[in-house]
């Protein structure tokens, strides 16, 4: 473009050392630091972890580089691990579904409202991302705990005799996960609603659709990409969580992430910890792969970039 335009007295657009303007070599130089970081801190660790799954566990903190299938055999035969995996998947699915149903309403409201200060509603949705995740999670103890607001009120009103056991249950874990994931879901659905051409809805209305029909036939189907991206993100983040079950659940409510942490940091069984990590990586990775196979990456990118 530019090369056709400049008059003769201007220097031609050229990079130094005779490289063309958008030389791939220069691009490689520019991305080299990031690529190096990704290779050393993302790819290599996963490869080494894969190798470690075949190492032999000797005793806490010690393993041998003798290749064995013992870890994989243990994983596939011991129902203890299967239970953890199933529970983790169940909690992930339940959390993602509730997020989808509950999160759709605010997203739709922000999109459809005449309210002038829309940006304020959006800002309030982004704000939780700035507040420490640990703090957001432990703050639920003040709501659900024995000295939490619900129990204190119910006791005061005389509706219950003894505090209800709400904290340290699976329900509390799911509640904490919802609290953490709802903003992701709402923003994802909102981004996809915002992309809808509003004249389509007017067109549907003018052709005789009722509001409900226009919503069902036009708005809802067109918002599905955002909903799908939100469901995927919520599921993966919920199933990979560690802090929430740690703070809000009892020992029985531990999820796969907690199992991995205990295996590595508690029992110092590195080969088994690697095996469990690779399992989680493949399970969640295949969910993400199925998603991208049908929906592509672009929606996720939009959701993450705000």
């Amino acid at each position: 473009m530019a090369s056709q335009f400049p008059p003769a007295q201007f220097r031609p657009v050229r990079a130094p050392r005779g490289w063309s303007l958008y030389d791939p070599r220069l691009a490689w130089l520019l991305v080299a630091p990031a690529a190096l970081l990704l290779i050393c801190f993302l790819i290599m660790p996963i490869l080494v972890m894969g190798l470690y799954t075949f190492y032999t566990f000797v005793t806490a903190g010690v393993e041998e580089a003798t290749l064995t299938f013992a870890n994989w055999h243990e994983f596939f035969t011991d129902s203890y691990y299967h239970g953890f995996l199933l529970k983790t998947l169940r909690v992930g699915v339940v959390t993602a579904l509730i997020c989808g149903v509950v999160g759709f309403f605010p997203a739709y409201f922000i999109w459809a409202t005449d309210f002038r200060q829309k940006w304020l509603l959006l800002l309030l949705l982004i704000m939780p991302f700035w507040i420490s995740f640990t703090i957001r999670t432990f703050s639920w103890i003040h709501i659900l705990g024995e000295q939490g607001i619900i129990n204190v009120w119910l006791l005061k009103l005389g509706l219950i005799e003894a505090p209800l056991q709400m904290l340290y249950t699976e329900g509390a874990v799911i509640m904490g996960l919802l609290h953490f994931l709802l903003p992701y879901m709402i923003l994802n659905v909102y981004v996809s609603l915002e992309g809808i051409d509003r004249t389509l809805i007017q067109a549907a209305r003018s052709m005789g659709c009722t509001n409900a029909q226009a919503f069902r036939e036009v708005t809802l189907p067109l918002s599905l990409p955002g909903l799908a991206a939100g469901l995927m993100l919520c599921f993966v983040l919920a199933a990979g969580s560690y802090v929430t079950p740690q703070l809000l659940g009892s020992g029985r409510d531990a999820l796969f992430g907690n199992l991995i942490y205990d295996t590595i940091m508690g029992q110092l069984n590195w080969p088994m910890g690697s095996t469990l990590s690779i399992v989680l990586f493949f399970v969640l990775g295949s969910v993400a792969a199925i998603y991208t196979r049908y929906m592509g990456m672009s929606q996720i990118v939009k959701g993450l970039g705000g």
Partner: protein, 279 residues
């Protein structure tokens, strides 16, 4: 037909409104409870509120471990923010402006740290360090944080970079500016909103990181979130509430003030350019 009359009297819209209010209450009630309880006079961390007191902030101020952890986290987050922003902007520049082999793969790879569960990233890096018999150091922790923040900075910078026409850069170069000068004088100033947003986000991601830091931190080093976790091991104390409140004020206040500053600066600059062009 106005949008208002279209919506009026619709049960569905009513339900949407109610649900929206409930969701916002759900999102903020626990946080407000924590802030309220940090001013509670009671020596227990929970309800009921017995009186107003600032003493837990005093106790917090005296707690050397908390102050230490705070400083550690602050430094880590600052370094992470600066390095990730520089790295992310340069990477996004290459990804948007250039065509090269492996561009697609790199683009996907750069988003991956945001999608892979932190536990897995945590274990992986830990095992890599162990297998080459290196100790856990602060440098590795910071590089890990940079990895976690990179996807967000790259995505933000990419989105903005697409909006900056490359004609501007080419014009500068055809007028004799060097490549570096063009990047410094044209590209970066046009990317300022993305740079600011990216740096803030990288700072918050690092300052807030819990799961991965539990794996990566060197022996004896506590970051702010891991310190809070260890304080929560026994029971919830009023001191933790005070600490939470300080953190909330900081992490919400800094981006809010930052965003406000960006707005003011860009408004001033716009006013100046309009005045100059009027001359």
């Amino acid at each position: 037909m106005s949008a208002r009359s279209r919506k009026e009297g619709r049960l569905g819209w009513r339900i949407t409104q109610v649900m929206t209010v409930l969701v916002y209450i759900f999102l903020f009630a626990p946080i407000l409870a924590t802030i309220m309880l940090s001013f509670n006079d009671s020596q227990f961390g929970g309800f009921p509120i017995t009186g107003f007191s600032l003493r837990w902030y005093g106790v917090l101020w005296e707690n050397a471990r908390v102050i230490d952890a705070f400083q550690t986290s602050l430094w880590i987050a600052l370094v992470t923010a600066v390095v990730t922003t520089a790295l992310g902007i340069v990477t996004a520049y290459a990804l948007v402006r250039f065509e090269f082999r492996g561009k697609q793969i790199l683009g996907t790879l750069a988003i991956l740290p945001a999608l892979v569960p932190e536990t897995i990233l945590g274990v992986g890096l830990l095992i890599l360090i162990k297998s080459i018999e290196q100790p856990r150091t602060l440098t590795i922790l910071i590089l890990g944080h940079i990895l976690l923040a990179l996807p967000y900075v790259v995505l933000i910078a990419q989105a903005r970079m697409v909006g900056v026409k490359k004609i501007y850069e080419e014009a500068a170069m055809s007028l004799g500016a060097s490549r570096l000068a063009t990047f410094r004088e044209i590209t970066v100033p046009l990317l300022i909103p993305a740079v600011m947003a990216g740096a803030l986000l990288a700072f918050t991601i690092s300052f807030d990181n819990t799961s991965a830091s539990l794996f990566w931190r060197p022996a004896g080093v506590e970051t702010m979130p891991t310190q809070i976790l260890s304080m929560l091991k026994t029971s919830i104390s009023p001191e933790v509430n005070a600490l939470g409140t300080v953190m909330i004020v900081m992490t919400v206040g800094i981006p809010l003030i930052g965003g406000l500053l960006v707005q003011v600066v860009s408004r001033l600059r716009r006013r100046r350019t309009t005045r100059e062009s009027a001359k």
